[in-house]
Structure formats: structure tokens, C-alpha cells
Symmetry: C2
Subunit: 343 residues, 2 copies
């Protein structure tokens, strides 16, 4: 049986209450007693029991607030599933999760929402936002109020956030390049479809991709790089136009949303077999297109894990002594082809 707070109390000749006070760095303990208790705890290798702690914590249940730019973006469905899964698993420990969904990555909307969440006195926040100064400030203010924040899916460095949980976008791009150069024997003439030139993750995916192609020594030429603005109709229109004007294009690299639109253009031009499409994530339409072999492969980022781990991390942080910093959690780059797309 592990060592308990009682053991420490007995050993130190004090009461359990005093030990608890010391262990939580609360005031009102004679310094010499505190030192002695700490020494004994250390020596005995004390580690607080989760079950006992959780049970006592039930009296002060915790609620985590989330901000997700998920409206109209099916990618987040899986991430939300992960959040809910963690909530379910931790509900017996008094945890609940509130999700605030917004549409788009508009800075003003995000700042307003973060401030609203701050006022609601959540135990902690879990957010997916944009790396701009205004948002950073809103996060700093939240943390200053004593509400810890984690970033999920998109990092906002230097904001004071506890940690980042999400993919390594650069690495995803590089993996795309690796696989493409395995399936592509001729020179690659590329159409790159990004979501927005202002989103860091999208840029990283392009950078990793191009550097990866060079590393693999696949000859290539970027014919054009365009923004889809995460909109299928727009993606369809520009893909159609560019493919028509540049018949030499044999590969489309879709960095963000707009996958279905781009593929629709490929199909409309009867280029399913001459143009390879490489994408990210596996929202339902993407899955279908992989199964139909319109998309050669798609790279996923474990969205369920992202949601799940974010909540688990916050929980363990709140349950811990709140002084141990959390480490980042980078999700894997998962290659999906027709055969394993339904995994």
C-alpha cells in the first residue's frame, strides 16, 4: 500500500490537517514544522492518491470552458467528440465541459468570446484561436485572473498558455512530401491550395512539403499557390480555372478545407487518373473521396486525441499541485489511404 497523508502525520507527530496545509503551501504553519513535514513526505515518497483527492474535490466541481471556431467546419466534430469523451470519463470526478462555438477565425469574435469565457469564472479554458496580438492579450488577461488556458489544435506561443496540444504542421507537410515522392515517379507539377496565407499552420504545411520534396529529391514545380478560404465553391472555381489553364498540373496539394470543391473540379475535367490529390484530415466528404480513389492519401492529426488530451491535461493540472508545468502534446501524423480510411 502506498504512503498516505496519515503516515506522514504520524511520522511527523502532527495532525493530518497540518500535513495538508504544508503540502498545499498554505499559510499558518510554523516554518520548522513545515520543513520537517516536507522532508518526511519527500523521504517517504509521498504521492497523493487520485481517488481520495477526486472524492474530496467533488464538493468543488470544476467546469472547463472551450472556444472552437467549429461552426461550419466538420473537422472539429471529432475534436469535440474527444472533449466529450474526456468529460464523460471524468464526470465522476466532478468535471464538466462547456463548449462555445464560433464561426471563422475572426479576431474580434475570438477576443470577445475569450473575454466572455473569462467572466464566467470557469476553472480553466481550452481554446483554438489565432496567433495575433489581440488574442494573445485576451489570453494573458484570463491567466492573470487565475484561469489557466491550454491551446488545442493551433498554438499561441508566448501567451502564457499552459501547453499546446495538436499537430506539428511542418511535419505533416513533410510526410505528405515523403509519401507523394514514393507514389509519383515523374516530375510533380503542383497546384497548392491553402486555406489562408495568414494562418501559420497552413504556411507550415507548405513549407514542410516543399522542403520534404527536396529532401526526397523529387523534381517539382509549383505552378500556383492559391487561397481556398476554406470554401468549397471557391476552391472548385479556382481549381477548375487553374487546371484548365495549366494542363501540365499532375498534383494538387490541399492544405486546408475546400477538399471537396477541388476534387469536384478534378472530376469535372475528367482528370481523376492524371492528377493526384493529396489532402489533410478526414472529414466525411474527404473519406468518401479517398474511397473513390480521387484522393491518393490524406494526412490526419488525431483530432479526437486532441480534444481528449486537452481536457485530461487540464484535469491533471488542476488536481496536481498546480506548480508542475504541463508539457506539450504533439499528435501523430496519420497516413490514410483507401484501405485504412475507416479505422
Amino acid at each position: 500500500m502506498a504512503v498516505t497523508i496519515k503516515d506522514i502525520a504520524r511520522e511527523a507527530g502532527v495532525s493530518r490537517g497540518t500535513v495538508d496545509r504544508v503540502l498545499h503551501n498554505r499559510t499558518g504553519v510554523k516554518p520548522e514544522v513545515a520543513i520537517k513535514v516536507r522532508e518526511i513526505a519527500e523521504r517517504l515518497g509521498f504521492f497523493p492518491n487520485k481517488a481520495g483527492k477526486a472524492l474530496a474535490a467533488l464538493k468543488q466541481p470544476m467546469t472547463f470552458g472551450c472556444l472552437l471556431p467549429s461552426i461550419g467546419n466538420p473537422f472539429f466534430d471529432d475534436l469535440i467528440d474527444g472533449l466529450r469523451m474526456a468529460e464523460r470519463e471524468l464526470s465522476d470526478f466532478g468535471v464538466s465541459v462547456d463548449i462555445m462555438q464560433v464561426k471563422s477565425f475572426d479576431t474580434e469574435v475570438h477576443v470577445r468570446t475569450i473575454n466572455a469565457l473569462k467572466e464566467k469564472n470557469y476553472t480553466a479554458l481550452c481554446i483554438t484561436s489565432v496567433d495575433v496580438p489581440e488574442v494573445k492579450q485576451a489570453i494573458e488577461a484570463t491567466i492573470a485572473k487565475g484561469i489557466p488556458v491550454v491551446c488545442v489544435n493551433t498554438d499561441i506561443p508566448d501567451s502564457g498558455r499552459l501547453c499546446y496540444i495538436g499537430p506539428d504542421y511542418y511535419h505533416g507537410g513533410k510526410t505528405a512530401a515523403g509519401l507523394l515522392s514514393m507514389i509519383c515517379k515523374e516530375k510533380a507539377s503542383l497546384l497548392i491550395l491553402t486555406g489562408s496565407f495568414h494562418i501559420h499552420g497552413h504556411n507550415e504545411r507548405i513549407k514542410g512539403f516543399l522542403e520534404g520534396l527536396e529532401e526526397r529529391k523529387l523534381p517539382f514545380e509549383v505552378i500556383q499557390t492559391q487561397e481556398s478560404l476554406d470554401d468549397n465553391e471557391h476552391a472548385y472555381a479556382i481549381t477548375l480555372e487553374i487546371l484548365e489553364k495549366n494542363p501540365q498540373i499532375n498534383c494538387i496539394y490541399v492544405v486546408a478545407a475546400g477538399v471537396e470543391g477541388a476534387c469536384r473540379a478534378v472530376i469535372a475535367l475528367n482528370k481523376e487518373s492524371s492528377v493526384k490529390v493529396v489532402t489533410f484530415d478526414d472529414i466525411p466528404t474527404t473519406k468518401m473521396l479517398v474511397k473513390q480513389k480521387i484522393i491518393s492519401f490524406t494526412l490526419c492529426q488525431e483530432p479526437i486525441q486532441q480534444g481528449y488530451r486537452a481536457i485530461q491535461k487540464l484535469f491533471s493540472y488542476m488536481m496536481g499541485n498546480q506548480r508542475t508545468p504541463l508539457s506539450d502534446s504533439i499528435t501523430n501524423t496519420i497516413i490514410k489511404i483507401r484501405e485504412n480510411i475507416e479505422d
Copy 2:
């Protein structure tokens, strides 16, 4: 706050002890009272609180016994990491894990070990063994003694095991075929290296592979299928010989261990660029060979998850009412190439 046993007791006008008895189907409760309590529990949507349960359970700690044919097989290192990870996470709930490692899949050794584990009165067992009648009987005897069993990595159906946690071998083979047909433009002349013709999983990987190639319409010819007996030296020798005799071979499909040996032969014959090697799992030597591009890709089966989930499943089964059967947990087929092999 969720509904507790106390709420039910009050509502039913009985004591907490009685409610507990009913909920655990223990004897000594007047049938009509039992019915009433059950009805109220149902109506209130009662679900026992994990933390409370765990705390009480500390008085009767549980120990799970494991059997793994892991000696000399680095694949199991990751699986063991998963077991230990779960043990660590659940240690506060009184869980500990004993691992019994054996060498090889020898039936007699396995039966003897299972019987030994049975006598040690573990709370439950978690085993990787062979699907043969003798082992099946040993498992049945263990279960008859009241010790539940789960199968990890390799299923033993109809043995009464609670559930299977591991890969879908057939599906792994099919995925290998899918990817191979994407990177291979000419007819595939195959050397298939299996571990043993008597291991079901290995056969499934071959079956899935061949059927997958047909589905993808990649022309192919199996030049030879040989047993490596999971031994690198043996794999080296036969690969060397077969490659020399059949220079048309352009693809080696390694279903089990012996990867390093097979690759050594490819290197010895300077065939790194003319022969594609496709393997399973990512033990250290395999990782290295993927990085060196000797192996085109390797298919992994989430070994850490296998160990982790096995223990978690046993725990939740023992903590639950022990009447809800466990569902199988099929791990994903993870494609790894040079770029994501270190994920």
C-alpha cells in the same frame, strides 16, 4: 451533482447497505424491496461514482497477471510499456500488474504458464498466446475458477475470454497491398516471408495482402513464400538464396520478425533500389531501415495501446458490475514511412 446511492436509499426508504446489496445482486434482500430499489435506481439514472468506488476498493487491491511470449522479441517492449503505463495510471486505484515473460510460442510452455498464473490467484489475466486446443482448455479452466481473461495481440476465440485487444491482421495485409500498389507501377514479383505457417495472424496478413493486390488490380506473381521462424539469421540465408535464384523479384513482403535479416540480404546483393521491402511493426532495427529507405514502409499496430487498453479494460470490468461483457478493441493500422517513423 449526480445521483448517489444515498439518494436511492432515501427515495426507497431503506438503508444504503440494502441498496448496495441490491445493486450487487447479493442475496438477502426481500424480492419486492429489491425490485423497488432497482426501479428507483433505473428511474433516477444512477451510475456508481468511480472515485468513491475506487477508494473503497483500495481495501482489496487487484493484481493482474500477464503472459507474453516476449523474451527475445522487441515488439513486445512497446506493449509492455503500455501495460506499465496503465498500471501507473491506475496505481491509485489499487491496481498492479505482474508480467510473466516466456520465450517462443511453444504450446506446452504456454499451458504450463497459464496454469501457474491461475494458481497465483490473480484478479484477472491478460495473455498473448496461441490458438490451439490445449491453451484454450487452460484458459477455460482459469475462467471456471472465476478469473477473467482477456486476449491481447493474438485472439483465442471460443475460449470464453472477455475480449480481444489487438490488430486486424487481415486488414493490415490489405493496407500493405493498397500502399504497395500505389508505389509500384510495374508487375510485382513477390517473395513472401512469413513467421510461421501455423500462426493464424501471419496467414491472415498474407491473405489480406493478396486479396488487396487483386482489388487494386496490381499485376503480381508470388515467386515464393517462406518461413523465417522469426529468426534473422535464417531470414538472411533464405532471402539471399531466393533473391539470387530469382533476380526478377522486386518486392519482399515480410509478415513477421526477421526483418533485419531479410534487409541484410537485400543490401548484400546491392538490391536496395530494385527491391521494395514492406514490413510490419517498428522495432528499433526496422525503424533504422525505414530511415535508410531500405524498407519502403512498415505497418504498425499500436502496441502501446494494446497493453494500455488491456489493463484499462480489465480494470473497468472489475470495477463495473462484472455482468456487462467487454467489446473487442481493434487497434489501427498505422502506415509509417521515413518521415513519420519517429512519431
